[in-house]
Symmetry: T
């Protein structure tokens, strides 16, 4: 039973809730993946990539907070527990150990591309809930900015 | 093969590396658990508990960064990938859905107590690597401060 | 006669103007209601509720400024005079005197719910004026965030 | 029945309470009047008058908070609800629509003069409650500063 | 060949790319026009107009950065070179020499009106690329705010 | 022999000096009492009460500095040594050990009420030394603000 | 003819106006005297005295602004022109050239004492204009703080 | 009965608790002693000593908070009440009245030396509780820094 | 006898010293003149002129400090006493009472022009003391900026 | 006819005016060129070059403001309109599309070298107007700093 | 003869003093070496290495201050004079002239490794002076963080 | 071979390069000398002198960075290695051990005087390189400010 009563129809609430829950899982794993690369990256441009990855983490952590809290606002409980994320993520896992700079750049570019494609689907899926849709558009804009900045480095 | 050459003996390096990797897994799951409660908590003191949990998250995220980077400094690659954390964590999983305030307080108190006990073991295990030990002592102090503040609420 | 010439058709301008004027009245009374509760609230969690209500006031005051100025931008004069608000408001009036914490929480939750429902109607009514609509979506997101935080306290 | 027990005699408490309640009504309407002019002002010096009026609003909002909370401190509940203000205000209502700059300046000068005169009466009426009197003196000083700055523009 | 691979269809990418390139040219010339007036304005309200124009410049420079970088994100290279802007701009050129305050106000009001009309066309032209559209809506809101503030000064 | 020569008559100096010395003792013990509760408080609203008490400490410490330095300015040496405070205080001593939240709130409300009553006497006693009186009025206003905020929690 | 209409009786206005004009002359010369010593002081504690004197200047400059603007508020034009100050000041002139530290300390202590005595007279002279009186009390408190700090150095 | 359950053995807890309680008493009296000197100091270097003493107070107040809260974390209630401090302190009491600068410097140097010696004993006494020991080491470092700065002034 | 030994020849020192002393007198009277206008200005653009004049005061006060301290650095004692300034100034005295905005603008424009011309002479007179000359060039640049901003208002 | 009357001879004014106008054209095109590269740069060190170019833009924009306003101060109207810049610039145009990092570095190094050479000529041409010359020296210093930082990257 | 009396035994004082003096020489030369590379580095990643080296300088300068002042606290005079450092340093000297980026990275990595090894010896040598030891541990942690960041770039 | 191509003639480049290299050696040793005194100073005014010396260090460190980087800009590699400074410095070496306050003041005054004289020669030697000359003038101004402040303490 929902704690917060939602002014949305059941169908709209369900669609928006699924979009937000999916976004949450994507974003949590993206933040952990970027951190793993942030720590283990090696190579001549280490400093720049190391710090750039932390900017991605900052963006993604704030976005994950926004989608989880947005779910609460429409009467849906978000699930960001580690097993939920590990079971639900579609992102490729980084190999253990050192992550050479080229690998770091290509992995994060690819991970961002995957998440962006899924966010564009969610934007389409929430056209009847403009407040949630607007949040997803805003996050997509930020993810695409990071994607551009890594993509041109390849 | 280690990227960073360590001035430590192999045994000391191994012990410190294990302590730091274990700490990393604990701290990542603790941050996800605290966030899950932060989003889903309900009850009369919601606002205070909601914000208090975010202070825990801030402490724990910074600590996880410190232990992961400390591992790199002694020539050991940290592993903070989601599957590693999901498989390795010893923390109790929160139930899905709403987390009433009493449950939030008792869960986070308990989770902190578990992690603190493990950190005290790691402090003992790193007595031959004083720089790593000093980091673990500092993090334990912060965790115990949060533990006190939640424990007196029960 | 409009001071600022509007690039909008007369119908779109009228619809957007009505939405903004209605929003202005709602928001001014909401800010006064939240202040009244902010001052008169009593009970064990006084401090938290007192400060939380002031966060609502801050949000709502900024939003009322935005909608009034948005009206000017499309060539419509906003009316935020006290008699206009007193006559036009649909919000329930708080009783005089002390406001026990439970009453404060339920009153503000209800007031927010009423205003949110009216903002969702205004979002629908301004679909041909995307700049105004985007402003209303943004304010709704903030109101729904406050609504969630009070709703889970009941 | 008062929530906060007052160390004042009943007569002093009543006089101070009336002074504060009257001040609250004056200040809330003054803030709404200044905002109305802030939004609707037109003319060659628009920018300066528009921003100057917002400085008045900032002063007056902070003052209204101070008098309302001061009432609570002496055991009297303040009433700042919109109907109370609409019924109790003595300020002249601005006409709807555009407010030419000369009209804005003369209206706010006059409104400030009216409120200042009433505050000087309240200073006299609270001579037996020096803490409340000191607050009223401080607010009067700020109102007179704004009054001077508008008066010399005519 | 695009450096950044775009998830958009070719038609949507082309439409969004044209909208962004057109916006870039408009905004760069608007910033140079506002600076020219900022330096050469004369008259009794010089200080206010001089500073107000610099606020327009700040808004417009940030907006030009946003549209150029947005183009990169969807795989289109922006062109903000001086000859491209000089050849492509539709804004009226200010006369050389002193710009009396009335001329400054009417010129910038008109320039803003022209650019706003073109942005509203671009909002319509990007309805299939919601992330770009949202950026254009946001910039239009800011331009319309400046337009209002200058328009009421005439 | 006074280090600083005072422009006051001996009687006025003596009265003001006694008022300030009495205020100093009250305020030092009030700060220590509030700190004792700050550290030892327990209960469901621990976090709020713990932080609220520290706001009281901040106010009171600054006030104690002001009264001690004010004494110096009129040629009287303040005495804030621990034995002077222990011997001269009229505040009730907290019991050792845990301070449940209700006890913390009632104790600090009572302590504030006691000190406020004594400050009101001192305001009356310094009517011939308006600079000292104004300081005492200002501190009383701050103490009464804290008193209100704790009193409504009971 | 007064630019700002005053709500005060002519006698009260005249008394307050004279007090403020006298205060203005005192404060301007005090600021110039303190600056002269600030630049020309010599001796082992140069750095401390040099900086301490600038704190006096900061206090006094702000106070001179306050009294001059307060005069405007009650309908009296302040006169802070250099010849007015040179002709009207009662402060002892520093000798030209180097100011040894002991001379700097004794001169500023004496100058502060003279000004403080005159401010206490003005406080008495404005008892029927409580807003002006409150300003004079506040400035006296600050001057007496500086006086104490220099007096104990002798 | 302890509110917070401690992971320490009873003996370690007792030793650490005694060290922290002793430290608390030392630090509170040291802060009051430094404040007493801060207010009453006289002499040619008054300004420097006055401000230097307040830096000691800031260090010591923060340290006293840390030791009291550390006690809570290990399940021991700190006692910082004024009578406890007055009865338990070992610091020499300053004489009443003026404190000439040389006396201020020698008194605070001596007081710091006494407290430092006691802290070094506590560091030895807590070698089995490394988190508490690390806190005591950190405070000792700060106290020794102040001690050096006063000691070289004699 | 100079307190600070100068590495300059006597002739260069004398020339630079005269330039700096002359600059000091100009700047002090300019700051007092600008303040006099700042307080007494009236008219429709009061707010802008009032604040603009205070920017001049800030520039000029900082410049007067720089020239006085520069004199000390080359072994010459600056003289900024009120009688020295009153006797030595060449600036026109403002009339007492209200200063209509046009008068304020023309007076300050003229005063700045006079001082600028004298600074250009001083730049020429210090060509053998490049450090002093550089300071005078820097101040002239700032004065000419203010001069432009007032000159275009006529 | 000049709005601002200049204290300079006609010849000096003309020479300085030409130097400033030439500088303005150089700097505006340099800022647009640097922005074009900032947006379109690609390659492994994208992030660093992208941000470094924006530091150049910040320097150059501030410098262009300074030279344009300096022209006004000496009675010459600056011309920074887009066609003036497009017709007058001597800088090489970047090719459209992607700018590989090596190309970005060499292009900006060359553009800075060209502008620096022209500024050194202008420094020589303004030796009779030391205030303008000092501004040009200051800007040259900043341009040479950026030049060094790009030159060593080739 | 020691200026500051030390509570340490002579042997402990001597050991700690030698450790601190050795650390001071290491750190001063490390800061000069890093600055030399900071200025002379060349190559494609110049900007990143240049700034990274300045972060090392900031860390090392603060550390050198800490060890020198720590020596004073235990009664030992630190010696950081240039000839002492030049004679005592064990660090390899950089060649004069340009420092290609690879050389800069390998040189600073090596220099950090040498200093770290010596700090670990000093940590062992100060086990009987825990306050000094704790400082050395803290500095070692910071040096190892920089070492990691340079080592992974090779 | 120079890394950065210089627009200067060989003779001008050589002269400026020598001036900058000489300045660098002076400034580095001056910073180490001031730090040595900062740490070892003793006496009644320790605190003031200790902090004043650190202001000198801050000025000198920033100046040494400026001259070294200025050398790079004109194509000359600066040499700030410890042996270069030890061999090239002309400053008197401080004796080891405690530095009584009078000795500290006279030593730093003398060292500043020596460096200032050499900077004045360098200003003369760079008259054909106005950008470098302007930097040297600026640094000289700052050194002379510190020199004055220490010189008047003797």
């Amino acid at each position: 039973m929902a704690v917060v009563s939602s002014p949305l129809s059941e169908a709209v609430q369900r669609a928006a809730g699924q979009a937000l829950q999916g976004a949450l899982v994507d974003l949590i794993d993206l933040s952990l993946t970027a951190k793993q690369a942030h720590w283990n990256v090696t190579g001549r441009t280490f400093k720049t990539v190391h710090e750039h990855l932390d900017e991605v983490v900052a963006t993604v952590r704030e976005a994950s907070d926004s989608v989880a809290e947005r779910a609460m606002m429409i009467g849906v409980h978000p699930d960001g527990r580690v097993r939920t994320v590990a079971d639900g993520t579609v992102l490729a896992e980084l190999p253990p150990g050192a992550v050479p700079e080229d690998k770091a750049v290509s992995s994060i570019t690819e991970a961002l591309a995957v998440v962006i494609a899924r966010f564009r689907d969610r934007i389409a899926a929430t056209e009847d809930e403009p407040v949630t849709q607007d949040l997803l558009i805003g996050i997509t804009a930020e993810l695409e900015k990071h994607h551009w900045m890594f993509a041109v480095q390849r």
